[in-house]
Amino acid sequence: MNTLSFSAIATAVGLAVLAFAQWLGLDYFYFAGYTILQFIVLATAWNILGGYCGYVNFGTAAFFGLGAYTTVFMYKLYPLPIPLLMLMSAVVCGIVGFGMGYLTLRLRGAFFSIATLAMAVVVQTLVINWDFVGGSRGAYILHPENLEFAGLKVNYIVYLFVLMLILAVVALASARAIERSQLGFGFATIRDDELAAEACGVPTLRLKLIATTLSGAFMGMAGAPFPYYIGYLQPQSAFALDYAVNSIAMPMIGGTTSWVGPLVGAVLLGSAQQYATVTISSAVNLLIVGLMLVAFVIIAPNGLIGLVQKRLRRGPP
């Protein structure tokens, strides 16, 4: 199946989800669905660098927050339509991802991870001290309750949901295309053995920079509509550790070697968190992530995908 037909199918699935939501007619479904879709994008973006190349990035929150604050900055300057803001966030975060890659990719393993974690703290500190975007007070982002599309009245949350749905489809289709391309092959060599990759003539630094740039850009795009979603943005929520932890845990639970992993992980973990938020409390979210991660490391170290593959391989020859 080529990328085009995959995109078509993914779009069809997306439309089905949207139709289901319309049929349900429940605003809450959009609110919860938006968060899950956002995590699908974040997990997929993380997986491009973390899963395909094997570089564990703890800085998801930096890119997500930066994407969100690009929106806040533009909102204060001159409000633009959200799709445009998403593109701008992609550019900003792609550049930052490139820069981060250039500065940190000499580091390997845990050292790289610590450097990315530090970057999240640095960016957050910068934003806290930047008055124009609200500083530590935060910023209010107001939006109308409804939008008009060709005479059709659309609830704003539906609009945000659709945007995130489109982004999720694009992210998944890109991840899948990368996986099957020469680029993905190169990424896999970096993950398995970087020295051997170099000996084969794989331009490792260039590929890693492509990975950090793409990964950062998608994370930024996921963050761009967030201020409109939440209405009031403060640094603590934009740069929350939840994003870093979730976007690592989701691919790990699903399986990091394929685009399916982050999708499955995000849907599973995202839904569980939404359920817990409603029934117990939003504070148990990270507890759920932690417990599931521990459980999966013990039961299925290669994620759900790995578990399924193992079953298939063990089956009748």
Partner: protein, 243 residues
């Protein structure tokens, strides 16, 4: 066409630790040159200098590929690979979770190599029939000898002119070492390669060597202009054979 490599006055260090001091050596067209030395004398570092993985502090490394001269110092590893210089790294360094065939295909990652991917793959399977039998098997699940064959074959997928082999005998049973060395000779003859091989196993390496150097503490301690000269040398007796 002639392909050779000339190394002159190369120094290299990891931080303050000097590893290679004033090393000069060459491998002329169609030669098999061995670089002999025990652990920790700088053989692998020299290989990495040639490939641009470690940057020498000073000195020049010039490769002549099909009559055209290239200065390798300062080039990126992928550019050096593009020129037609392939490294079989120490300890094989395969991609263990990929299949044999995928490992080979990755050997031809460069655009130039991809153009001839079919022919080279066929040749590799012909040269190493064992690999053809196991093409769908994961590389990490093969025996050490088979893995070494795969590492050699993977380097050949680049259709190189100069082949660098770093310690092919590491972790192999004596019989397999002998077979690996034979395989290198065969490949060299078939492809008319220039081979520079770093090795500790003196007796095996010398079987296929035209010339050789002994490296001790990062310096060339002895240059043998023929296999015979290497065979009958006091220094080598002292260092290797303990006589």
């Amino acid at each position: 066409m002639a392909s050779s490599i000339t190394i002159e006055n190369v120094h290299a260090a990891y931080g303050a630790v000097r590893v290679i001091e004033n090393v000069s050596l060459r491998a002329d067209a169609g030669e098999t040159v061995v670089l002999l030395g025990t652990n920790g004398n700088g053989k692998s570092t020299l290989m990495k200098c040639i490939m641009g993985i470690v940057r020498p502090a000073s000195g020049s490394i010039v490769a002549e590929i099909d009559g055209e001269k290239h200065n390798l110092v300062g080039l990126q590893t992928e550019q050096i690979v593009d020129l037609g210089i392939a490294l079989v790294p120490e300890g094989r360094r395969l991609f263990p979770k990929l299949t044999v065939e995928e490992n080979l295909l990755l050997g031809a990652f460069r655009k130039k190599a991809r153009a001839q991917i079919k022919g080279n793959l066929d040749f590799c399977f012909e040269a190493f029939p064992r690999l053809a039998e196991r093409r769908r098997q994961l590389a990490g699940s093969m025996s050490g000898g088979e893995q070494q064959m795969l590492a050699l074959a993977r380097a050949l997928m680049l259709a190189p002119r100069i082949l660098l082999v770093d310690e092919p005998s590491v972790g192999l049973a004596p019989q397999l070492v002998s077979r690996t060395i034979d395989a290198i000779k065969q490949l060299k003859d078939h492809y008319q390669l220039t081979v520079l091989m770093a090795e500790q196993n003196f007796t095996q390496a010398i079987r296929i060597a035209d010339r050789g150097y002994v490296i001790v503490h990062g310096k060339i301690a002895f240059e043998g202009r023929s296999a015979d000269e290497l065979n009958n040398n006091d220094l080598i007796r002292k260092f290797y054979l303990g006589m």
